[in-house]
Amino acid sequence: MGASINFYPTLDKEILDSFGAKTNISFSYRSANVPYTALETKKEGKNLTFVDTKDWNPYTDSLRIIANIEYEHACALFGIDGIAPNGSCLGIALEVFSNSGKYRQVYFDDDVRIVNTNEHVLLSPLFVNVGKNTVNRELSINVLLYLKEKSKSLKDEETFLNNDEGVILGKLASFTVFLSGFGSLFPIYKKAVDDKKLWLLEIDYDDPAEDKLSDSVKLILNTNSKDYCCIDQNDKEHFCPKIMYEIVASVMTILIIDLKENGHLDNLDGNYADGSIMQFIKYYKETLGLDIRDPINISSSLRDYFEK
């Protein structure tokens, strides 16, 4: 009863492009019994942040995540050039979870049946409602394609395709949305501190391959600072988002230099625990091209990233 490894073909970019699927994820919120209000998001790679979080309060408002999906050529998914046997039927599910929030919800429409056709299909929206007081840090969102019904007459040339009901064949879309507003993976706190500095940083870890980033790094924004107005989203006159990006870039630079000086970045090829500091650094290096050779390049590549 060991770990499962999937040797079958799964959805890759080429097949996804041929399938012609378009997935649009949108958000809205409401408190009590008022109608839902839309929330605008900004995309940063595979991450989303809310453009303006001040209207949605995770402690008083529920959040609705909606996936609108359409596709053109389902036939690309079937047969020897696809990922599912002819005669099978596929389904789509919206999966929403938070590892830090120990939360999970899945929605799928049992009436959705993707079969071997060549027509444009617009599906009814899939949605998940996250109740108030449920999550307040991050949410991961996956739109999953799975084998709903197996083929009852599997051809010899298709035996290399997965014909196992319930198996996930791939993701149509995958995002992480940060609920604190600045795409932060570490907590950002606002506190009145007896200090002139605009921001303070706490870094405390023992094993960066295991210790969670959210437990080990804390950025504190000092509401007592005379310059706090420049990073206060509620102060429309003085607020300057670029200052916040500079602060976050500085925090990450300090963290990376600290890790480098302690020898933790000599080799970034390990298997790291979910949410760990090293997983975060590895993600940024591989996915966003972060240059970690020396302090100047670290700082420069981070600020380049935030300028995008």
């Binding site: 009863m1 007081n133 991961s140």
Partner: protein, 234 residues
Amino acid sequence: MGYKVESSLSKVKKHYEEYCENKKVYENYFDDNYKNLREFLVEKNNEYISSNLAEYDYDLMLALDLYEFLESQKDFTHIFRSSVEFWRYLSVYVIPDIVEKRWGCGPEEKYENHFYKKGVRVYPFTLYWYIYLTWCGSRIKTYEMLKDASDDEILNLVERPSRIGINVDLMRAFNKRFFAIPKNKRKILVNGKRISLYRVLLKKNTGKLLIYRPEFYPNGLEGYVDMLFEGVDE
């Protein structure tokens, strides 16, 4: 009102070190929610200590008490349930004496882990989540199901990480099925060694979740749990 938390790990650590030195619990760190919780747990703790319960029995009774108390509090939301800051605060600022009685305290990591250092090993977190993931609908049913288990089950269940959040219904269905297995069949022989079937099945679940999701598995959660238990002598 919510529950007060301390977000600074270094401040929590400092408070823990001060506690280890002077063994004092300072009520000025409590709000009313914590005050009531502490009074309740201290009373229960004293009752169990005077009954001379074995370690697991003590853990189980205190876990059921903690779970039922918190579930009755309107301010105890899922945000607090999953908040490492909340469990650390409870452990270090509110009931450090109870944690110390069970695990000891000192500068070594083996003590620190149960107070604040390792999130999934913080003692009140472990107790609460053991019951949350096994709850059968009532205290008596949950107690009857878990009374023959051990600290090994607590550790394997609560400390097992998940890559895709936690499906509480799945864990409760899994645990109901597992604990219906007679106690003498809960260890299996692998390469001449007797190992925990619970651990084996939980690891199987971790592996299966890479390619399946219980929610849309054939026959849903029930079908998924059946798949996990395929081949098990029940």
